[in-house]
Symmetry: C2
Subunit: 424 residues, 2 copies
Amino acid sequence: MARAPDPAFLASRAQLEALDRADELRRFRDQFELPAGVIYLDGNSLGALCRRARERVRETVEREWGEGLIRSWNGADWISMPQRAGDLIARLIGAGAGEVVAADSTTVNLYKALGTALRANPSRRIVLTERSNFPTDLYVASGLAKHDGSAHEVICVEPGEGAIERVLAQRGHEVAVVTLTHVHYTTARIHDMRGITAAAHAAGALVVWDLSHSTGIMPLEVESCGVDFSVGCGYKHLNGGPGAPAFIHVARRFHHLVQPITGWMGDARPFEFLPEHVPAMGISRFLSGTPSVVGLAALEASVEVILEAPMAAIRRKSMALGEAFVALVERHCAGLGLELASPRDASLRGSHLSWRHPDSLAVMQALIARGVIGDCRPPDLLRFGFAPLYLRHVDIADAVMHLADVLRTREWDREEYRARPRVT
Amino acid sequence: MARAPDPAFLASRAQLEALDRADELRRFRDQFELPAGVIYLDGNSLGALCRRARERVRETVEREWGEGLIRSWNGADWISMPQRAGDLIARLIGAGAGEVVAADSTTVNLYKALGTALRANPSRRIVLTERSNFPTDLYVASGLAKHDGSAHEVICVEPGEGAIERVLAQRGHEVAVVTLTHVHYTTARIHDMRGITAAAHAAGALVVWDLSHSTGIMPLEVESCGVDFSVGCGYKHLNGGPGAPAFIHVARRFHHLVQPITGWMGDARPFEFLPEHVPAMGISRFLSGTPSVVGLAALEASVEVILEAPMAAIRRKSMALGEAFVALVERHCAGLGLELASPRDASLRGSHLSWRHPDSLAVMQALIARGVIGDCRPPDLLRFGFAPLYLRHVDIADAVMHLADVLRTREWDREEYRARPRVT
């Protein structure tokens, strides 16, 4: 990272530095803890630590737990954290207050959402999704189909423009639920949430959207799109920390339904300890067990920071960073074996980019050794994410400079970069 | 708390101070952060913060997340935490290495365990439990029975000596699963794990034990008792912090079964992102989504501390503390309206005690105002727990002195103690 800028990048760097000086979000970078010598392009996988989250965790562990002990359930209002964090997230996804709670993992929340949606549409047997959907979404759907004894069938379409709509046109009368990830985890391609939701509803199906790669990074309007259920991840663009609680959103018209994992935190009167379950009114019935208080503390703090930035500005900068990355790769990495796997049009993609390269794992490990951190996705993708709150435009120039250098010199072609890490 | 000891307690205090001087566990108290002026008798609800957990959380958040970022999944081996913490907990419950993982909540783990057990015994329709079981256990059982389309029936017996065995003798051939909490959350009564497990097996039923109130506080032998599945809480006697990850134990003979909430963390090759789920070999298939890394860090550290103490010594001191509490209440609170709701014989109970009092909520709030922290359970119970690693014998004398004083002076009979807190 300490090396001098490549002369070929000087003009681009100067332009990007000018963008940084005019950046309406520049004040946010100081709120994050970023290690020296690192350009972090993996906030779409694990968001960086903001200072407020760090302080909130210390406060929660050392004062609320350490000193307050059990009293903090009331005294620090731990008991309201899932709803409080949920209401913050509701503002990011365009849901109403009281329609979101934060707790559990995305997987568990998807199980609850999909399980509830299937019960809400009991005469139909098909769960419709994409074969390239994030694996946990497919595993939850197929697990539920096997488990609930109702002979559900999971139909996975090959991804492609209008593929979901075509199945809906043919077999829509059999489809109980359409479940998709809004921004694809490899290509970053954005699904048409409004159009697909409308097509599903027209066929009498419900929708469950996974917003893991879109929440906190682009404007979302689940209520205006008529979305029935959605879930999303707390540790990607929400910066809630490793294994942060996820969220579940349920449109108010489904708040009378009972989700499958009924537990005491979803009960109307958990501290009366009654043997018969009476689900809480509203979104709280979608809770199950005791949520991670420490995890919620970090998540709540980090979402507060995001809400201080205008979402339109976040999206603008996210697109500008991605555009700069693509333009520089096109200019400086031509002929070096990269092939763009994401939509070329920034308006069609979320906040990351993927490129095919036959030696993607080794290339990424060489980049990480230089302090440029992205990740890999099978079979051959290099993935780079753009977090507008803590990335500078000039970081993009430096990252692509390293990428070009690693490719041109075949620096990646070393034994040490060939070993496959457990987590890629 | 600053008041001088009641003369009536001086002889008892001196005896208890002598026990503290000879306490084989006395060195552990210094490892915990305990607020001044507090006698903490609620470690059975939320265990206290040990210094190692505090430091481990700081390290995980500030160094591993803040500096290591995504690299810490490999570099800090976050990916192995559920199995690593699980192996530590396995030593506490007498399970084999590779039979326990820590993740999710007790409720979610119970759902997985019970859902798997029901699939393993598909020709039977009854889930047998106690009506006074912890509510979340009942809610999970009834939720599963409604959900899985197999017409399961949950039979809740009234608690009582031999009650479960009697139903097994009569209708055992219909019982799929017996699920009970080993140490009762109000009375602390210990179920005969070995006898009930044997009776269930003799009838062809499986068992799912909830060890929430027994793990970390008494010797447990799930493997030797032939237990099929068990779950337990991370934030009670394990001191893992508010909303800590819970655990699930599955006997190795059931590791070929598939649990209902199939997710990517339970897949054999999660980082190959394949559309078809192939469950991981062994206990890892009982994971679902991404676990709370920060929560696991605290839990792992706090369980390490427990494992440094001989479990026989923990149980001995736990019983001695309880015995001292009962003896002092019998001597100093006679005629003040308390009625013991726990077994009088220490060998029949876990590490807490409950007393009936018609104004239990107000009495407990008056005690808490004096710094003696226990809790309440409906309808009229005062509950006091004993954590041998950080409580002194002399604390028991001081706690009962306050209790006697609050009752004798009717200090609890004030407006300010009448309001019902949200969390009791």
